[in-house]
Amino acid sequence: MTPPITELDAEALYKTLLEQIKAAMASQPDLAVVGIHSGGAWIAERIASDLQLAHKPGFVDVSFYRDDYAEKGLRPDVKPSQIPFEVEGATILLIDDVLYTGRTTRAAINELFDYGRPRKIMLAALIDRGERELPVAADFVAATVSVGGNQTLVLQRDDDGAFSLKVEHA
């Protein structure tokens, strides 16, 4: 199941992911979603709305938890993290657009734990591009795709809110 990158339809992938989560939702009525800026945040916003979740979606910017601060310094466009629900004891679905090395997920989990101790964290990603550098696995994935080492996959959202995927050279 490795479609070529040029044929990826982000909207279709979103629907796939949504269905997967919906199916699992039955046993998690109190699920809360947290999206990782920026792509994961957009997806979380839509998921929370489409599934009519009880909790408003949360957003984290992992800039303060990254492991490459010493080499790269602070990024210029840090956004505030907001979690509008109680993390303590919560069941959280962490959402990112592209799951790659796993470092962003690690940072996001560390950040969540600074808000409180969740009961459970699950991970959803639109795309899993493999090449993990940490032992991280997603619970929900819409597509597994190979991306060249010198390329990045970026989720975009247009003015109407429609998703699309773009390949950029690193």
Partner: protein, 320 residues
């Protein structure tokens, strides 16, 4: 002359003064600060950015308030903080400023937060570190003599931005002892860089040097005139020493002409905000009714001060 605040890549290596900082740098600091505001509301009020880094508070001039806010900011970045009050240690035994810096650098400090009674002291330290190729050590000026208090200037700008949003159509008044005020100088520099069109200084002639107009400000000796329709009022602290230097006759007379009372506040715009770098002398520069009133944003300034200092330290520490 090379700007000692910037490294060879044009990035901020030290924060010594607002003067000479491009607008983009100031805006970046304010934007980063807004991300840090939320940290203080969390269960764990920390982010791991400066974990393992040592921040030395080098205070040659006593100040519990400022030192505490820098300490809190550094700790919220997970840094280790060491406080040095120099009047009680080596300098009073005759060790020179630069020898003290060298000793601490040998203990692998990453950042010096320096307060000194002499204008220019942090520049001396920054130049010394550069000459000795200690490029990984950063200096933050926590107030040097009458010259600058850049983090105060930045947090004042953050506060103004929070309440007023747009700098380009504001009138800001700074009231009191401008002559001796590093806060006033930093505020003026920041307001100018951010494009505030009208900056007013209000005070008696003894406390406002005549050459200040060359910094692009309007000087008023009449408080009532100066406060007309202003959007922001920054009150400066009046120190007791001013009475002994023949600069002012008494605190009472100062309050009479320049104290911010509710009546005077009414001359400003209805939604004008009142700021003060602290600590306040109630009844000297500001009436309690105003200090405790709805237009005063003095306590939020303190909260923002921590976020701004966290932003400054994390930006500096990330620029190698």
């Amino acid at each position: 002359m090379l700007n000692p605040q910037l490294n060879t890549n044009g990035e901020l290596q030290h924060l010594l003064t607002i003067e000479g900082l491009p607008q983009a740098v100031i805006t970046h600091i304010l934007d980063t600060a807004s991300s840090f505001v939320g940290v203080s509301d969390r269960e764990v009020k920390k982010v791991p950015l400066m974990r393992g880094k040592s921040v030395f508070n080098l205070f040659f001039e006593n100040s519990t308030r400022t030192r505490t806010t820098f300490e809190i900011a550094a700790k919220r970045l997970s840094a280790d903080v060491i406080n040095l009050n120099i009047d009680s240690s080596s300098a009073s035994k005759g060790e020179s400023l630069l020898d003290t810096v060298d000793n601490l650098t040998a203990m692998h400090s990453d950042m010096f937060v320096v307060r000194h009674s002499q204008s220019g002291a942090p520049f001396l330290i920054a130049q010394h570190l550069s000459r000795n190729r200690q490029h990984h050590v950063h200096v933050v000026n926590a107030g040097d003599g009458r010259h600058a208090h850049p983090t105060q200037g930045l947090l004042d700008m953050y506060t103004i931005r929070h309440y007023k949003k747009d700098f380009s159509n504001l009138t800001v008044a700074i009231v009191g002892d401008v002559l001796h005020s590093r806060v006033a100088r930093s505020d003026i520099q920041a307001l100018k860089t951010l494009g505030v069109p009208e900056i007013r200084l209000i005070g008696p002639k003894t406390l406002i040097p005549s050459q200040m107009e060359q910094m692009g400000v309007r000087v008023f000796t009449c408080m009532n005139e100066g406060l007309k329709d202003v959007d922001v009022i920054i009150m400066l602290r009046l120190q007791n020493e001013r009475m002994s230097g023949a600069l002012l006759p008494s605190a009472q007379e100062f309050f009479k002409s320049y104290g911010l009372t509710p009546e005077r506040l009414a001359l400003a715009k209805r939604d004008a905000i009142v700021m003060h770098p602290g600590p306040m002398n109630r009844g000297v520069e500001i009436d309690s009714a105003v200090a405790d009133g709805t237009q005063a944003v003095i306590l939020p300034q303190v909260t923002y001060g921590i976020a701004v200092r966290m932003a400054v330290m994390s930006i500096l520490a990330g620029n190698q």
